[in-house]
């Protein structure tokens, strides 16, 4: 019997596919998310929009909050550690969380290195804006990838940019002759073995979710049609007028993403979406997606 193998780690992400992972900050929110059909929740002290508003250094949540949320639901519970902060990750692993998000939403703890995720039994998900970044994270042991988007904005444009770029780089790679693959790997700064595997599979070697700006059922379906395997919704649910209704609608939109009639139905009468932010009005130094190396 073997625990913590890469197949077991990546396997949980496979089971989350076609589903919606929702940010929650209290046990009550976690129950609303589970009731609405979330396939997992992300336990946080603050959602990204509030982290953005609060400023300062954002850190791992208080373990009490994470444990209370784990007690409240039967679905998997994820939690965030700062980029490079392997001790926060050790603490989260010891609590028994099901996935760790090494996340740019929190303030990075290391300006050069990410966590060596091979050292853990618990699986990790990491953000990426392009194929090179995704494959570097997989090389470090990440068992799941998500687009970075721009968290806490309710603006899907950056997430769209990131999934389009990843998919277009994969298509380019697939058309390269084998002789040119090593140079391609060098140019995107990615480990050659995972570049080769991506070429063979025609997709990332692990599950790839959308994150960072999804606020409506239509946003979720857009990301699915662009090739994502599932959806993270951060601030989009509990910063909206009707969290339970919106959560359920986004779950439906993630399954029926190719069915405009269903999408029209579930998009009706949801009330106000979260307030959105124009990306151009966020100073480059305030953009969370720039964090990570």
């Amino acid at each position: 019997m073997e625990q913590g193998t890469f197949r077991v780690k990546a396997g949980l992400a496979e089971m989350l596919k076609g589903g919606v992972i929702m940010d929650v900050t209290t046990p009550e929110q976690a129950k609303i998310a589970e009731q609405a059909g979330a396939c997992a929740v992300m336990a946080l002290e603050r959602v990204p929009a509030d982290i953005r508003a609060a400023g300062g250094v954002a850190r791992m949540a208080d373990p009490t909050i994470v444990l209370k949320i784990m007690d409240a639901v039967t679905i998997p519970v994820m939690a965030k550690a700062r980029i490079g902060h392997f001790v926060e990750a050790q603490i989260l692993e010891s609590l028994g969380v099901d996935y760790i998000d090494e996340s740019e939403v929190l303030t990075p703890a290391d300006d050069k290195f990410h966590i060596n995720k091979h050292n853990f039994k618990v699986p990790f998900v990491c953000g990426a804006r392009n194929l090179g970044e995704a494959l570097r994270r997989i090389g470090e042991g990440s068992a799941m990838i998500r687009t970075k988007g721009e968290p806490g904005t309710g603006n899907v444009v950056e997430a769209v940019k990131h999934i389009r770029l990843v998919m277009s780089e994969i298509r380019l790679l697939q058309n390269l002759p084998d002789d040119e693959v090593a140079a391609f790997a060098k140019n995107i700064g990615a480990p050659l073995e995972f570049v080769r595997e991506t070429k063979k599979l025609g997709r990332l070697p692990v599950v790839n979710f959308a994150a960072g700006g999804i606020a409506t059922p239509a946003d979720a379906a857009l990301m699915m049609q662009l090739g994502c395997d599932g959806i993270f919704v951060g601030s989009g649910i509990f910063k909206s007028a009707d969290p339970a209704g919106r959560a359920k609608a986004i779950v439906a939109a993630t399954t029926y993403y190719n069915d405009p009639k269903v999408l029209a139905d579930v998009s009706r009468d949801l009330g106000e979406a979260m307030p959105g932010l124009e990306i151009a009005n966020i100073a480059p130094s305030e953009r969370m997606q720039e964090r990570g190396w």
Partner: protein
């Protein structure tokens, strides 16, 4: 032979690939009409609470029960096993309840305790089955009509009752297609 894969949430893509590799025609099932003409249905791993709610909301629950009563075979992995169980310990979540089994969810623990192991399954030959358990359930007790095919420390992880087959683990995450071939043979009346 046309076999459906319930595609509401979870690892349905891998089951589709596996069925196609075994020579079956595999179709994704999201709406009640998709069940017409299917000889069998696979219910994949995923979140049983998510899938169960969607079965009710999208009118699939009763239709699947009707089709099963009319002879459609069903194979459930992990969440699929939970959804086929009559009794789920400590939960009132929606279910098909077609098999006389009592299951415990997340029975081996959380993700940290998830594992892979070799299972001896006489029906599938001498080579062990490499079984991947992910926050997996097991069957705590089964009725007299249920055939127990494998267990881990006395906890049942493969079982069959008539036209219904369940595994607590995920053969679709490995290259071993013997369980899918067994399911196809079941549909053909050869197993």
């Amino acid at each position: 032979m046309k076999i459906g894969v319930l595609a509401l949430q979870g690892a349905f893509r891998e089951h589709r690939w596996m069925l196609e590799r075994c020579g079956a025609e595999a179709v994704e099932v999201r709406k009640p009409g998709d069940l017409d003409g299917l000889a069998g249905l696979v219910i994949p791993g995923g979140e049983s609470t998510t899938i169960g709610k969607m079965l009710v909301d999208w009118g699939l629950m009763d239709k699947i029960k009707d089709r099963a009563a009319a002879g459609m075979a069903i194979y459930g992995t992990c969440a699929g096993m939970i959804l086929l169980a009559k009794d789920i310990i400590g939960s009132d979540q929606p279910r098909l309840g077609l098999m006389d089994i009592t299951v415990r969810r997340n029975a081996f623990g959380r993700q940290r305790e998830s594992f892979e192991a070799d299972l001896e399954v006489p029906e599938f030959g001498a080579a062990p089955v490499r079984a991947v358990f992910i926050r997996a359930p097991y069957i705590e007790s089964a009725g007299p009509d249920v055939k127990i095919m494998a267990a881990v420390d006395d906890n049942i992880v493969i079982a069959r009752q008539g036209n219904f087959l369940v595994t607590a683990f995920h053969p679709e995450l490995t290259a071993d297609d013997r369980i899918h071939k067994y399911f196809i043979a079941m549909i053909q009346g050869k197993a």
